[in-house]
C-alpha cells in the first residue's frame, strides 16, 4: 500500500510541479514579509488552490475518471494525497515560519514544540478543504462550492439572532469553544474523506459535508459560555483547599453603571459582590465567572450570569466585584429577602518564574516565548510569536511591578492553527532609570468552582442604604 502511495506521490510531484513552484515562491515571500501586506492570506489561498489541484488530479466524483478502472488502492491514493500535503504544503509553511522565528531572533529550540503543534493543527485545518475537494470534480466546481459555503455562512449570520451571533466568550475559555468546533469539523471532515475515498458516494458525502459544516457552526454559535467554564474546571486536576464564599456587604457602593445592552434590554444593574476566604498563600486569584440564581419566597425566580468588574486581594482572602442585570419589575423587590445561589469560577496563578533582561529598544528574549523591548513614551512592549502565553505577565522595573494584562487564555495548547498568531501587549514602566527589567510570569495552577447558597439576602444590602435608585 505504501509503495503505491509513494508512486502516486511522485506522480503528483511531477504533475503539479508548476503549481508547487508558485506555492514555494509564496512561502518564500512569506518569510520576507511575514503576515504583512496580505502575504499570509495569499499563502493560505495558494495552499487551498494547490490542495484542490492535488485532489482533482484523481477526482472522486464522476464515472469517467482514469484511475477508477486502474488498480489504485483507495488507501494508497488517500495516503499519497495526505503525504503530498504534509511534505509540499505543510512543511514549506513550517519552514517559512521557522525562518521567520530565526529572523526575529526568537529562541528556536524553545519555540519548536509550539511550531510543530501549530503545523499539526494547520494540517488538520486543511482536512475540510480536502473534503470539499473530494466531493467536487474540478477546480471550478470546488471554487463555486467554497463560494457557496461562504454565502451560506453569511446568510446564517444574517438569520442568527444578534445575541447569539455576538455571544462574546471570555478570552480565558474561548479556546474551549474554538477547540471543540475545530475538532468536530476536522473529525467529520476526516470521516467524510475516509468514506468518500472508500465508497465514492458523492451525493451522500455532500449531504454529510453540509450537515458537518452546519453542525459545527451551530455548536460554535450556540455552545453556552458556562460549558467552557465547566470544561475548564473539569480539566483541572489540582487539589484546591476548602474555601468559603460569602456575600461581601462591606463595599455597598451603590448601583453599577448600566451597559448599552442593559439600556437596550431595559435592565438595571445591581452589585452582588462576593468575598472568598481561606485562599492558599502565595497564589494570585482570578475570578472567571459567576452565575447567580435568585428565588423569592413567593416563587418568583431569576437566574443569569454576573458581570465581573474587579478583584481585590488581601492575605488569604479575595473580594470579587460582580453585578447582575435584572428587569425593572424585579428591581422593585430588591429589599425583599431572597435565596441567592450560584457558582463562582476561579483560577489560581502561581509558580512564578522570572528572567531579568536588559532594557532595550531592540526586542530581547525573556521567557515563555516572550520578546520585550521599550517603546517611546515609557511604554514597554512584549510580544509572542505563537500568541500571548497562558500566563499572567509582569514587568518589574526597579521596585515597580507593572502588569501586562489579566485577559489571558487558559488554553493548554502551546499554539493554534493561525499562520500569524503574533500577539503583543503593552505596559508602562516607571522612570527609575534602571538598566534591567525583570519579566515575571505566573502560570495557572488550578481552575475550580465554588458553589454558594445564601438564605435571606436582599439585593438592597449589596447596594447600600444611601444608594440612589434608578428611575422606574
Amino acid at each position: 500500500m505504501m509503495k503505491q502511495a509513494l508512486h502516486i506521490f511522485r506522480k503528483d510531484l511531477r504533475c503539479l510541479r508548476v503549481e508547487l513552484g508558485l506555492f514555494l515562491a509564496l512561502a518564500a515571500l512569506f518569510t520576507v514579509t511575514g503576515a504583512l501586506y496580505g502575504a499570509g492570506v495569499i499563502l493560505a489561498v495558494g495552499a487551498i488552490y494547490l490542495t484542490s489541484r492535488l485532489i482533482h488530479a484523481e477526482p472522486i466524483p464522476g464515472t469517467g475518471q482514469f484511475w477508477i478502472t486502474r488498480p489504485y488502492r483507495w488507501q494508497s491514493l488517500l495516503i499519497a494525497k495526505l503525504l503530498f500535503m504534509a511534505v509540499c504544503i505543510d512543511m514549506p509553511i513550517g519552514a517559512a515560519r521557522f525562518i521567520l522565528l530565526a529572523r526575529e531572533e526568537y529562541p528556536l529550540a524553545a519555540s519548536l514544540p509550539a511550531l510543530l503543534w501549530s503545523q499539526l493543527l494547520l494540517f488538520a485545518a486543511a482536512l475540510p478543504v480536502v473534503a470539499l475537494a473530494a466531493v467536487t470534480s474540478g477546480t471550478m466546481e470546488f471554487s463555486l462550492a467554497a463560494l457557496g459555503v461562504a454565502v451560506a455562512y453569511l446568510m446564517a449570520l444574517f438569520v442568527t439572532p444578534y445575541t447569539v451571533r455576538f455571544q462574546l466568550w471570555p478570552v480565558s475559555v474561548e479556546w474551549f469553544r474554538d477547540a471543540l468546533a475545530f475538532s468536530l469539523l476536522t473529525a467529520l471532515a476526516a470521516a467524510l474523506l475516509f468514506w468518500q475515498y472508500r465508497e465514492r458516494r458523492t451525493g451522500l458525502s455532500r449531504i454529510f459535508g453540509v450537515a458537518s459544516v452546519g453542525g459545527s457552526a451551530v455548536l460554535y454559535l450556540l455552545l453556552p459560555i458556562s460549558a467552557g467554564f465547566v470544561a475548564q474546571t473539569w480539566l483541572s486536576r489540582a487539589d484546591v483547599p476548602p474555601l468559603q464564599v460569602a456575600p461581601d456587604l462591606t463595599k455597598r457602593t451603590g448601583m453599577r453603571p448600566q451597559t448599552n445592552q442593559d439600556v437596550a434590554d431595559r435592565l438595571v444593574r445591581v452589585p452582588v459582590d462576593l468575598t472568598i476566604t481561606g485562599m492558599p498563600a502565595g497564589v494570585e486569584t482570578a475570578a472567571d465567572a459567576v452565575s447567580v440564581k435568585l428565588e423569592w419566597p413567593d416563587g418568583r425566580k431569576w437566574r443569569g450570569s454576573a458581570g465581573l468588574s474587579g478583584l481585590e486581594s488581601a492575605p488569604r482572602r479575595v473580594s470579587v466585584r460582580a453585578s447582575i442585570a435584572i428587569p425593572n419589575d424585579l428591581f422593585q423587590r430588591i429589599r425583599e429577602p431572597a435565596r441567592m445561589r450560584g457558582s463562582l469560577y476561579l483560577t489560581l496563578f502561581g509558580d512564578a518564574r522570572s528572567r531579568t533582561i536588559p532594557v532595550s529598544s531592540y526586542p530581547v528574549n525573556a521567557l515563555d516565548g516572550l520578546q520585550c523591548n521599550t517603546e517611546p513614551f515609557n511604554t514597554y512592549f512584549c510580544r509572542a510569536f505563537f500568541g500571548w502565553p497562558s500566563r499572567l505577565v509582569y514587568a518589574k522595573y526597579g521596585e515597580v511591578q507593572s502588569e501586562f494584562t489579566r485577559l489571558v487564555s487558559y488554553s493548554p495548547f502551546p499554539s493554534g492553527p493561525d499562520l500569524d498568531a503574533t500577539a503583543a501587549r503593552y505596559t508602562t514602566l516607571g522612570s527609575t532609570g534602571a538598566a534591567v527589567v525583570t519579566i515575571i510570569t505566573k502560570k495557572p495552577l488550578a481552575h475550580f468552582r465554588r458553589d454558594f447558597d445564601f438564605a435571606g439576602v436582599s439585593l438592597a444590602d449589596f447596594i447600600g442604604p444611601g444608594a440612589a435608585l434608578p428611575p422606574r
Binding site: H7, G62, T63, I68, T69, R70, P71, Y72
Partner: protein
Amino acid sequence: MIPNAIHCEDLSKSYGGVRAVDHLRLEVPAGAIYGLVGPNGAGKTTAIKMLMNIVRPDAGHATVLGCDSRQIGPEQFTRIGYVSENQHMPDWMTVGYLMSYLKPFYPRWDDARADELLRQFDLPLDRKLKNLSRGMWMKASLASSLAYRPDLLVLDEPFSGLDPLVREDLIQGILDSADETTILCSSHDLAEIETLASHIGYMERGILRFSEEMDTLTARFRVVEVTVGTAALMPGNGRWPARWTRPEIAPSLVRFVDSMYDAERTDLDIRELFEGVTGVAAHPMPLKAIFLTMARSASPKGGR
C-alpha cells in the same frame, strides 16, 4: 464447459425514472470476442459501467472473472483492461510517462509487449496525451490496457469518430490480444464489430434483444427470393411463418428474410405456401442488414 468471463442476471439501472438497463442477462464466454451493439442510448455504456463497478446497479447481479461486480477493485483491475471513449486520461502525461507510470500497478506488466504495442501503434513517447489526435489518444489508451496482458478487455465505443486507418490499427491490436484475452466491445458501428466479434448481443432501450455466436447468427439469417410462374399472392389465414419477415411482393417474385434459415425446411415451407414455384434462392446477409431486420421486427411498425 467453458466458464463465462462475464455473467449477468437481471441487471437493471435507472436514471431519474428512465430505465437505462432493464433486466440484462448477458453471458460472455471466456475467450470470446463479444460485440455488444445497439443504437446510441441503448444502455450499452451503462451496462459496461455496472460490470466495471463504476456505477452501482439498482437490481440484479453480475460476476466478472468470477468476482461479484460490486466487489471489483484494484486486485481485479490488474487483470482487466478498460478503454472508453468517455474516459478522462491524465492528459498532462506523455505517452512514455503514462506507460512507465502504470507499470508498477500491474504485476503482469510485460515490457516487451508494451514496446511492441507502442511500435505497432506508432505512438510518439515524448508527446503529451493532450496533444495527441483522437485516434492516437485511443491507441495510447488501448496500449496502456494491453501491456499487462489482461484476462478481460472491455472496450466502450472504441471506434467512435475514428478514421478508417486508425480503426484498422486498433482492430489489429485487439485481435492480436484475442488469443489470451476475453474481449467485450460495445459499439453502434456494426461494420467494425462484424470484423471482430465471435459473439454478438444486441441491446435496444435497455433490453438485450438477443445474444448469440456470430456464426450461428449469420447462418440463420438469409434473404430468400422465391420465383413463381404466375403473379405471386401472399398466403393468408395466418399461414405466414413468424420467422419470415420483411416480405416484398413483386410480379412473379416474393422476397423475405428468414430468421431461422434451414435450406431444407425453408424450401419445404415455400413449396407448401406458394404455387408454381420455379426457383428459390437464399442469400447471406451482412450484419447490418440482419440488425435492421431485427430492429424493424421489434418495433411496433416493423415485421409483417
